[in-house]
Every structure is written in C-alpha cells, then in structure tokens.
C-alpha cells in the first residue's frame, strides 16, 4: 500500500438545514483497500459517500479524494472515479452495449465495451434493451458502467441490495477481482456477511459519527459478546458432573443430554480443554461448532440498532 491515502477525510460535516447528517468524521483509505461503511438508514453513510464522489458539497471539514478536493475539482475527480449508485435507471430503449459506449464517451479514458460486457457476463445481452434486463443484469450493467473509465477508485453504494444470493456471490467475486487488481473500493452495504467477507477495514457510522473502525476481526475482538461453542456427543451426559472449564462463562446442557453449549471469553482455550475432557471420559464427539461474535453483534452492541433498521 502506498503512503499517500487515496481518500483522506478530516472532521467532515454535512448539514441539511438544521439536520446534521455527518458530524465530524475522520478516516483515510489506502490504495488497494476495500473499505466498508456500515450504518443503519439515515446514519450519514450515503451523505459521506456522495460528498466524496463530488455530488454534494460538504458543510465543514476537509476531504481529499485521489488528491482532488471533491467540492472544488468535481469534474477532474468524476473523470477518475467509478460510481455505482443505489436506484439508478437508464432509458428503457437503450441497448446494453450502447449504454457503455455512451457513458464511455463522457470520460477522457475509457475501456472497450466488449471487454466490460464479457467481464460482467453481459456479452450475450449486448443488443438487449435495458427494459428487458432482469434485476441482476441491470446491476451488472451498473457495475460495468462504474468501470467504464477504468477507475482506480470505486464507490459501490449497496451494490447487492435486493438481489438473489447467486447474483450477490457473482458481485462479491467481481469485488474480489477488483481488489486483486489493486483498485480501491469504498463499499456501503446492509449485509454484514458481505462486509466481513470483502472489506479490509470497516467503519461503523451511527447518527453521523464513526462509532468504531478497524478490520472486521479487530471489531469482533473488541466486542464484549461471548463466543459460543456448540457440541453434540454420542451418549447423553445427564447426571454427569460437568467440570468448570477454563475461561468458560456459562455451560448449558440440552434436554436430550447430548447437546452441550458453552459460552467463553477465550474460546480456543476452552474448546481445547473440553476436547481433552471428552477424550479422558471416553465420550465420543459427533459435532462441534464455534460461533464468534459477528460484525452484526458488534454493530448492535455499538449502535443499539439492527443494520437494516
């Protein structure tokens, strides 16, 4: 990663009349990083992203994107970034390939429409009217349009919302490819698993402020939530005196006596001790699961809200 951040934000503020949508946030994004912005609706993430894209003026603070001030150098900035917005449309009678050629003509540099169509699996649909495309195909076209100027920085605003799981996986794969190509991606999403899978770092925004920032793993580790170990054994443990395993906070035995749930603050250590105990007791293990606190748990803990609120 280079020293100079691709995005630098310092005390960024945005107000709409008397409503403060963004209340002094700071962050920096390095080249090649996939940076996630998580937050419930109205948290200020779309305002933040749109300020950085040069679509809205900021009320206060500093912002530099690819070395450009998004307020003062909008055209130069827009020429260099790729944007996939929520809820955009194209004219119903435009053909897929035509749309890429049209939008490509707006930039000083553009990628061949054929190349993009093949990459986004839209080549077969190149002569189809926009109105005939499925939701997934329209979203793939929106992503192709975001790539039409071969940008080194992409803003993807909820690129998979409302799509079926298969299309979501395809889009995840594309974002991973973009990351492998060392492009920088700023991603907003409602899907926690998407952020966990794709983002190098995540900022959780609530009420216009960043309440936590770090890698998904760092955020999970900061959580006060407990990890949960689920074990299923072959013979019932009813009547067996269960030991106090190291770091275990709570232990519950299911009604059938075979399902054991142990909560732990250091799950690796606890799990190791449980396995040792089972082996010593000659109890056969059938299944074991370790569930760490998810980013969703962290999110709820920090904001008191569900991500899709």
């Amino acid at each position: 990663m280079s020293e100079q951040p691709v995005i630098y934000v310092n005390q960024l503020q945005k107000s709409y009349d008397k409503v403060e949508a963004v209340r002094g946030i700071d962050f920096a994004v390095s080249q090649g990083e996939v940076f996630g912005l998580l937050g419930p609706n109205g948290a200020g993430k779309t305002s933040t992203i749109e300020i950085l894209e040069g679509l809205r003026p900021r009320t206060g603070g500093d912002a530099l994107v690819l070395g450009f001030d998004p307020d003062k150098q909008k055209q130069q900035l827009k020429d260099r970034i790729g944007v996939c917005l929520q809820a955009t449309n194209l004219p119903v009678k435009i053909k897929v390939q035509e749309s890429l050629e049209l939008f490509g003509s707006f930039y000083t540099r553009s990628v061949s429409a054929e190349l993009l169509l093949k990459r986004l699996q839209l080549w077969e649909k190149r002569a189809a009217y926009y109105e005939t495309l499925s939701g997934g195909q329209k979203q793939r076209l929106a992503l192709a349009l975001a790539l039409v100027n071969d940008p080194q920085l992409l803003f993807l605003d909820e690129p998979t919302t409302g799509l079926d799981p298969q299309i979501r996986l395809e889009i995840h794969k594309l974002i991973e490819e973009l990351k492998a190509e060392k492009r920088t991606v700023v991603l907003t999403t409602h899907y926690i698993e998407e952020a966990e899978r794709l983002c190098d770092r995540v900022a959780i925004i609530d009420a216009g402020k960043i309440v936590a920032m770090g890698t998904p793993r760092e955020l999970q580790q900061k959580s006060q939530e407990r990890s949960r170990i689920d074990i299923v054994v072959a013979q019932p443990l009813n009547g067996t005196v269960l030991p106090q395993w190291p770091e275990a906070l709570d232990t519950k035995l299911g009604d059938d006596g075979r399902a054991l749930t142990v909560y732990s603050s250091r799950p690796a250590r606890t799990l190791f001790e449980i396995m040792k105990w089972l082996d010593q007791q000659g109890i056969q293990l059938e299944d074991v699961h370790l569930k760490r606190p998810t980013l969703e748990d962290v999110f709820v803990e920090l904001t008191g809200k569900k991500l899709r609120d």
Binding site: Q75, T88, L90, K93, F106
Partner: protein, 275 residues
C-alpha cells in the same frame, strides 16, 4: 465535443425507438392536418391556416411535452442521476434535447408542406428555407421554455399543471386554432401577449404574404425567439437538477415568466400599435 455528439446520436436513436415520439411528432399533427384540410381546403388561405395550425400543434407539443415533460420524467425515473456521477455538465444534455427535437421535427415540416402542396394545391412558400429556419427557431425557443418548466417543477404533477397552463392558452389564443381576426377586442389584446402568436403570425406572413425573415415584424419575432432560446437555455442550465430529491423553492417558478419577457415586450409593443 464527444459527449455532445454521443448524446445527440443516442437521443435521436432513442426517440425513433419510442412509439409515443413518432405518434406525437408525426401521426397526431398529421391527423389534425388531414381532418382540417379535408374540411377546409377551399382556398390557399384556408390551407395556410391548416398548415400553421398543424405546425404550431407540433412545435408546442415538442416544446412542452417532448422537452419539458420528458426531462421531468428522466429526473423522476432516476435516469439523470446516472449522468450526475460522470464528468459531464447539464449543457450537453440540454443541447442534446434541443437538437434531437429539431432533427425529429424538421422532416415532418417538409412532409407537411409537400403534402399540402401536392394533395391540396397550397403553393410552396417563396422563402422555403426561410420558413424552415423560422420554424426551427420557434421549435428551439419553445423547447427551451419546456426545459425551463422542467427545471422549476419539483414533481411530475407540478410539471403537468405548468405545461397545461401554457400549452392550451397558447394553442387557443395564438390564432393557430381559431382565426385571430375573428377574436373580440379583449381577446385580441391577450392574443398579442401569447408567445405562440408570433410563431403563427410569422408563418402566415411567410406562407401567405410571401415575406422573408427580413421584414420588421418577422425580424422582431426572430429576435424574440433567439433571445428566448438563449435566456431559456441559460436558466435551464442554471436551475438544472439531476435528482428528484433536489427540490427547488416555489418562487423559482417565476423564472418561466422571466423567459417569456421578450414576448411580453412584443405584446406591449403590439398593444400600443393596436391602440
């Protein structure tokens, strides 16, 4: 220049793919033309009235519905939002709308004049290209007005009300659908303040009196239409909004009246002369 050419080429393609565009630009005015021509083709003067009516109907439809309502529709459907993230300004989009409207409409004018000449014996105008130029200026001026309406309307409902407020009075009071010489005095005064009046009068002067664009009356109409195009274009660019969420204050609607000021000036000038 590349974005301008790309947008114009695409707008023309898209317009030709839409049945509504073909219907409102060609079939609808032609239906009026044939209906009234069949009823009124007793003399060349009657045919000029019919041709003028058909052209005015097309110009106003192209300006208010083709440019104005379509621009609101594109904003409401989040189509303009996609353009907003690119490096282009509103100017190529607005220029594209004007040029496309013109390119789609001019073949209809030629078709109409030739049909009136060959089927209904209307003499071809002495200043054929002068007439085409005059109609072109009128068309672009009214498209500019339509784009200003689109810029100041916050919703499709507001836009439709504004368009109807201008479209029908212009159609009925300009002399395009009822002969202005049969208007009562008060209507004649109002008639002079209606922008479309100058389009109708200019066409009648060229078709009936064989005038060119150089006469005082026609030249004034040309100047007024050019001023309207320039001021309308500038105001539409200034007030252009890419997204339906970007609302404009209610008082901004006064800009529509500002664009019409040259026509009001003409109205006052004519009113004084009428007295």
């Amino acid at each position: 220049m590349k974005p301008y050419l790309a947008i114009i080429a695409m707008d023309i393609k898209l317009a030709l793919r839409l049945r509504a565009v073909i219907f409102f630009n060609y079939l609808f005015p032609l239906i009026f033309f044939f209906t009234f021509a069949t009823l009124l083709h007793r003399s060349a003067d009657d045919m000029v009235f019919v041709v003028t009516m058909s052209v005015t109907l097309g110009v106003l439809g192209s300006g208010f519905f083709g440019a104005g309502i379509r621009a609101i529709q594109e904003r409401e459907l989040n189509i303009l939002r996609r353009y907003k993230v690119t490096p282009i300004s509103p100017t190529p989009i607005l220029v594209g709308s004007m040029v496309t409207g013109w390119a789609i409409f001019i073949p209809y004018i030629v078709l109409l004049l030739l049909t009136a000449h060959f089927l209904y014996k209307m003499p071809l105008p002495t200043h054929f290209f002068g007439l085409l130029l005059f109609i072109s200026l009128g068309l672009i001026a009214f498209r500019a007005l339509g784009l200003v309406i689109a810029s100041v309307a916050n919703t499709m409902q507001e836009g439709t009300i504004l368009v109807q407020l201008f479209y029908f009075p212009m159609l009925l009071l300009s002399g395009a659908t009822f002969p202005a010489d049969k208007f009562p005095k008060i209507m004649t005064i109002i008639h002079n303040f209606v922008p479309a009046t100058y389009l109708v009068k200019g066409m009648q002067n060229i078709l009936l009196k064989g005038q060119g664009l150089g006469t005082k009356e026609n030249l004034l109409a040309v100047i007024v239409m050019v001023v309207t195009t320039i001021s309308g274009g500038l105001i539409a660019t200034k007030l252009f909004r890419w997204e339906k969420e970007e609302k404009i204050r209610g008082s901004a609607k006064l800009w529509v009246l500002a664009v019409l000021l040259p026509f009001f000036a003409m109205g006052i000038w004519n009113w004084i002369h009428l007295k």
